[in-house]
Symmetry: C2
Subunit: 291 residues, 2 copies
């Protein structure tokens, strides 16, 4: 069994981008610029958004964190988005999800200029992904594809079973894996809460992507020997023995799967860091089309 | 075995729309208006587009057929599209595909105002479909969903195998069948030219959608008893015994499948007429948001 090391791969990508940024600055160009909007005080969201800001700093991107009160109105948030859409020196921005419940998330995300939507959530970008046109791919599925590519995992003609149909992971990764690209060209089965015979399907899979958010859901008896396992889940479980007070679990029973899988992503250190790397890659891509 | 009668269902839908249009006209409103652009002289395309015009006439829609020479430039076609985008009395329009080879099809389709894109081909509408937001669904997959709905075929928790990943049928129907909607909520496997073990998969399927364009590809030995079969293929094969000089074949070996299937769409008279019905439904929907 080999680890698909997202942390290392993400660092490789950051180093590659840092070299490109240094070149840009040497030639007198402005640095790529990513902004993030965080509404409210959610602790996990703040952690995520801070790690994005830190990643920007490390590779020489300019970054802006816009913190807004959870009590602002939808119109005020839309105004803020409009400002970022029209800022000529900004290459991309993200709105950290989830938003407080009084916001219409679709309305907010649809207001982002697709040309600055480096999270790849705008319908127009999602559609271009389906139609295999150039676009910003959604960050988490893009990170998974990049990981498969760098580890040269064969996907063509393989049977990939995706567990979970969320808009940000399950649904787009099922689309990307089936496209006529490399990686891609897999036979893809998309499963979800209504699926009746999940184990029957996972037992046939050459590649499994689990994106459910249920700790240790995928167990050893559910997979065949040699399977490639991508674990997108991340669940915090209280654990007094840890300094942080919790332990992180993936959707995969790691110890059981480790015995049967050919490749597996750990949690943490697998898909998570790759999501941030994708965001940086998208921002750099946006910068290049602007400069 | 029961026939999923697309011709009858399409006629039912047309009659329902005709009643709505009559109501609109009685109240002094203008009729819904659909336009079609046909570039070049392709015989099959002319047949398709004419049947759309005829359908409009029958139900009381205004229709406009714009025929352009195959030699016009991309800019001239884009100008024509711009005119239609800005015509306040037009509810929707389609560009009959395929376009002559010197056109960049993506560029042309992306120029259509998404709010008039009643074929559902614009990236922004494709993305909204993925994200389960209100939109115009692509006409052929929408017609399949409508047929399943009107025949009350249970899809939730069923295993649906889609054969073919085209942008206009295979890929979008795989997305629609997996969404949390009714019909929908199926476990969906998307297969294509790189799939290695197709028969193994089709033998597990409760529902099969074939959209390949290979005459009589799906044979009796490939399916289990009771399967629901949706045949999207249509291939013309020369046949001297026919007045037209050809016979139409679906992607399904109908006689073999008829013995095992619980429901099956015929070719012709199955999915084809439903595509036109969807186009009319989308145009009416567009009209309603404008009036």
């Amino acid at each position: 069994m080999k680890i698909l090391d997202g942390k290392k791969t993400s660092n490789d990508i950051k180093n590659e981008i840092a070299i490109e940024v240094a070149e840009i600055l040497k030639k007198g160009g402005r640095p790529p610029h990513l902004a993030a909007i965080l509404v409210g005080e959610d602790g996990a969201s703040l952690t995520y958004v801070n790690s994005k800001v830190k990643a920007c700093q490390r590779i020489g991107f300019e970054s802006t964190l816009i913190r807004l009160s959870k009590d602002i109105s939808e119109d005020e948030l839309l105004e803020e988005i409009d400002k970022l859409n029209n800022d000529p020196d900004l290459d991309g921005f993200i709105i950290q999800l989830p938003l407080p419940s009084h916001f219409n998330e679709n309305k907010i995300l649809n207001a982002v200029d697709p040309n600055k939507d480096v999270d790849g959530f705008h319908p127009s970008n999602v559609g271009k992904m389906v139609l295999n046109q150039p676009t910003f791919l959604p960050a988490t599925p893009m990170g998974i594809m990049e990981l498969l590519k760098r580890y040269q995992i064969e996907t063509s003609g393989k049977h990939c079973v995706v567990i979970g149909r969320s808009h940000i992971v399950g649904s787009p990764i099922s689309i990307l894996m089936a496209r006529n690209t490399n990686p891609g060209n897999a036979t893809v089965t998309l499963t979800h809460s209504r699926t009746k015979n999940l184990k029957e399907l996972t037992l046939q899979a050459d590649i499994i992507v689990v994106a459910l958010g249920k700790a240790e859901f995928l167990t050893g008896d559910m997979v065949k020997e040699g399977v490639v396992v991508i674990d997108v889940g991340i669940t915090r479980v209280a654990d007094q023995s840890k300094k942080s007070g919790f332990k992180l679990y993936g959707d995969v029973h790691f110890d059981e799967l480790a015995e049967k899988a050919s490749y597996i992503t750990p949690v943490p250190g697998g898909v998570g860091p790759m999501t941030i790397a994708s965001l940086l890659m998208n921002t750099l891509q946006s910068y290049k089309t602007r400069n």
